[in-house]
């Protein structure tokens, strides 16, 4: 199984990187982009075919994300080969 972890800054946290990206997109002529947020993406390859959600959630809470400033969500993907 592959755990795909998307980590984003909490809404309450100012995101100057996101703002800089937004400004640059506008500058480049891309209209209609209202907000941009810059986060982090992790991929974990796990043994087996069942998502071990609680284990990975715990890892996210304790280490992979900082709950003070970040939100996370996990998407699961089965391995292509059996």
């Amino acid at each position: 199984m592959k755990a795909k972890i998307i980590i984003t800054p909490k809404k309450a946290v100012l995101d100057p990187q996101g703002q800089a990206v937004l400004n640059a997109l506008e500058h480049m002529g891309y209209e209609g982009v209202q907000t941009a947020h810059v986060g982090r993406y992790l991929e974990l390859e796990l043994a087996g075919n069942e998502p071990c959600t609680s284990q990975i959630e715990e890892a996210c809470e304790r280490f992979l994300s900082n709950p003070v400033i970040e939100d996370y969500r996990i998407e699961w993907e089965e391995n292509a080969e059996g």
Partner: protein
């Protein structure tokens, strides 16, 4: 006149203490201000030794310094990996027992990641790495770390960081204010809390804080790089004086 590294003419005239203190300076792969921390302690006439990040036994220490740098290359998040090093369990136990722990810059980030201090440090608002002198205004002197700097004292110390913007949510900030946990704020040369004097966008201009029980502190600026006039400022020494005074008085 050559100002030698002995700095005998810069040493503070502290009251004679019977005890020579022993500081531990934690070293992670990527720490870079560890030597400056050792030197800062030695300018005070006390001793300091390294604590390699794999150490689990601290020995007999009076205080611990967690220095600046880029531990583990700031991988994942600044301080995120360093705080899992074996030595940090010993540092946490030391703090739990009331020992004095000071985190400087990356050290502050590590202590926040470790949960020994509230809040977190994020990317500077300007997205710039800021390496410059700033002024810090001391909020109160009721902490071991500020005992030698009365309220309103201005300290001129250098910063060098890209992720020094302090953040804590409103609830945490209220609690911190109630417990007098904010120790240093960025200020102008006249002591005013103005946005242009805040180099990184920290909430409430916070440069440094302490824990609820007051024995753990962290700040983004580098007092250990301001212990000799030769390199621009001696104001940082006043912070270490507070630690020394607290430890020698209570011994």
């Amino acid at each position: 006149m050559t100002d030698t590294l002995q700095v005998s003419n810069d040493s503070p005239s502290h009251k004679s203490s019977s005890k020579q203190l022993q500081f531990g300076v934690v070293q992670f792969p990527g720490s870079n201000s560890d030597q400056d921390c050792i030197h800062a302690v030695e300018t005070m006439g006390h001793r300091a030794g390294y604590l390699w990040h794999k150490e689990t036994q601290l020995g007999n220490l009076d205080a611990i310094l967690v220095p600046g740098g880029f531990s583990y290359g700031d991988y994942l998040r600044a301080g995120a990996i360093a705080r899992l090093s074996p030595v940090m369990k010993a540092v946490a136990d030391f703090a739990e027992n009331g020992g004095l722990v000071l985190g400087i810059c990356n050290g502050f980030q590590i202590l926040c990641e470790a949960g020994l201090l509230p809040g977190a440090l994020i990317r500077n608002r300007s997205l710039q790495f800021r390496s410059e002198f700033v002024h810090l205004r001391v909020v109160h002197d009721q902490s071991p770390f500020t005992s030698q700097t009365p309220e309103g004292t201005l300290l001129r110390v250098p910063i060098a960081h890209g992720e020094g913007c302090y953040f804590a949510d409103q609830e945490t900030l209220q609690e911190m204010k109630a417990n007098r946990q904010i120790l240093w704020q960025y200020a102008t040369a006249d002591g005013a809390l103005e946005d242009h004097a805040n180099p990184n966008g920290s909430v409430e201009h916070i440069a440094g804080i302490c824990s609820k029980h007051g024995n753990v502190a962290g700040l983004m600026p580098h007092p250990e790089r301001a212990c000799q006039n030769l390199i621009g400022s001696q104001d940082g020494q006043r912070l270490f004086s507070g630690i020394v005074d607290h430890l020698t008085q209570s011994s």
